[in-house]
Amino acid sequence: MTDERQNWTIVIRNRSGWLDIDLKELWRYRDLILLFVRRDFVTLYKQTILGPAWFLVQPLFSTLVFTVVFGRIAKIPTDGLPQPLFYMSAIVAWNYFASCLTATSNTLIANAGIFGKVYFPRLTVPLSVVITNLLTFIIQFAVFLCLLLFFYLRGAAIKPNALIFFVPFLILQMGVLGLGFGVLVSSLTTKYRDFSFFVSFGVQLWMYATPIVYPLSQIPERWQWLYALNPMAAVIGAFRYAFLGAGSVRPLHLVTSLAVTVVVLIFSIMLFRRVEKKFMDTI
């Protein structure tokens, strides 16, 4: 009666293969991703007095505090760079990564209500978060560029260089890393809520394990190999170097960082895809 070879649009079964990332479906839902971005951006600062000015206040104040605490009081060297520029370059970049990670890490739990009622590719939510944060990053990045220009015109010893052309890749890598780790944590929190507590202070610890308030050159040579394991160290280093022209960029670190990024992304998305099918039963 029925043709067994009938073309089925959707086949629902318990498990599909590990490598089941349906990019075509994600592409079909691209409008949804953009609408999520729009929603998050529009609603983020509604009913706040300063509105989007918060985007500017936050990195400027962090830079001020870092300059006073780590620069003036602790007197941590900055590779001979103006302290505000040294800190702000890293803060802006780190903020993007950290906000991607924390915001995507509660994807499944925070959206359980809507996920429990209607199907759409779950990855649209963390992807939209990464894009929303990119918009925030661009605004903060513009503030950084103004500061850079200010110091440059005053004749500070900074040498923006050809590495600047790689900055878009660095930004992409940070987004991907944030997404990867965030989605990983999100998948794990469906089983163990412990991970959600871990995120906020884990990110803070990670910040100190990354050369943000100190330059890599301050780390003894025999420990520097450790920084090859931290994918963010190389990214921040390269980012800073591109604009300021000081510090150290090690090709090996960049390569391992890239490798870690790719592995984390693939592994976390595979895990996410497995978890998303059934997490509604246990949440």
Binding site: R39, D194, T282
Partner: protein, 440 residues
Amino acid sequence: MSQIAIKIEGVSKEYRLGIIGQRMLYRDLQSWWARKRGKEDPNAMVGSQQPARITGNDRFLALNDVSMEIKQGETVGIIGRNGAGKSTLLKILSRVTAPTRGVIRLNGRVASLLEVGTGFHPELTGRENVFLNGAVLGMNRGEIGRKFDEIVSFSGVERFIDTPVKRYSSGMLVRLAFAVAAHLEPEILLVDEVLAVGDAEFQKKCLGKMGDVAKEGRTIVFVSHNMAAIRDLCERVVVLDEGRVVIDGTSEEGLRRYLSQKTIENALATADEIESRMEGVILRKNPHIRFIGIDLLDTTGYPRQSFYSDEPVRIKIAFRCHQVVHNMRISVFLTDERDNMLLYALQVDDPEMIGLFRRLDEGTYETYCEIPPNLLGEQTFFVSVHLEYPKTEHLVVPKILKFDVRFQGYNGIHINYPAFFHPQLRWQAQKVNSSSEQAV
């Protein structure tokens, strides 16, 4: 020969008991450590009142080997008691969760109305929410743009479309949300109880829209407790019980079988339920009298199925006279499970009723029969009601409702036997002889 739209093959859904809710890593480590030392798991489920569908090892089958084929253009109603697996099936069909075993194949775009308004954000305007909600449900921006005007006029909130929806009344919100969902135009539409929202007029509009969708040759799977809606909309009914398909047939036959086997679980019987169980002398054309509803209420007017022995049980009988009726009789029977007659009461036992019921004009009426407190024992009682217009019609509704009585005891003494009646009777006692005389 029409194509198959949905093919469900041997689908089961197993839930592991005890893993619902939040989990903490240390609890798992604790359980693991306890098992390792051969001790009892401190986090094991406590309690014995587990459902019958536990397959051992704390597993619970919400769906048990369900198979069916639904043809393109068919409207199928899915009914069953609470916990029968209806919602689980719909969740799997809409891909909110995956089955444990079995395969479902779908042909065509699927949209589900598990609950309207998912993804609405209060800060956004109506317009923005229409686009967002449409995208969540699977439409792209072009599609929503084309249907936007139609959606807005269907919802009837044109004037407020650029106002944030947090300023909307709940009725407006539901109308807008349903309007978006109704314009999805998927090949397969899954609907769960959405019609429980909104006012009666809007519900009618929704049902009409669904009827239109069905006429356009789309496939609809409809889960509802609204028997009338299922009968009107669906040509086929599937009854689930304990995770299995127990009835699968045309809606008329399926509903009749379902209602006849259903143990009544409500304190309220609707006109439909009464109609389907009614016996006796019934005039199908030009009826004189008909039931509208029979309810079990407590003293505050709240429907209940369980009463304490020290409170009255009120049985409300609502009926309609389609023409002038003389000397009508209403009687209430209480029986036990095996149809043993326990109690009989007639409304004209009450002298006040005689005059009232001598002549009833056309219209709807309500009568209340009150079973006094401190009469019944701890038992389950079934209520049957008769409505009689002598020599014309005699409507009998056997065992339409049931209720439990919890015996409360008297004077703080709570000695309970499974008797049907345990009234507080008058007793007498006196001393008739002194003990010394007795000894003689």
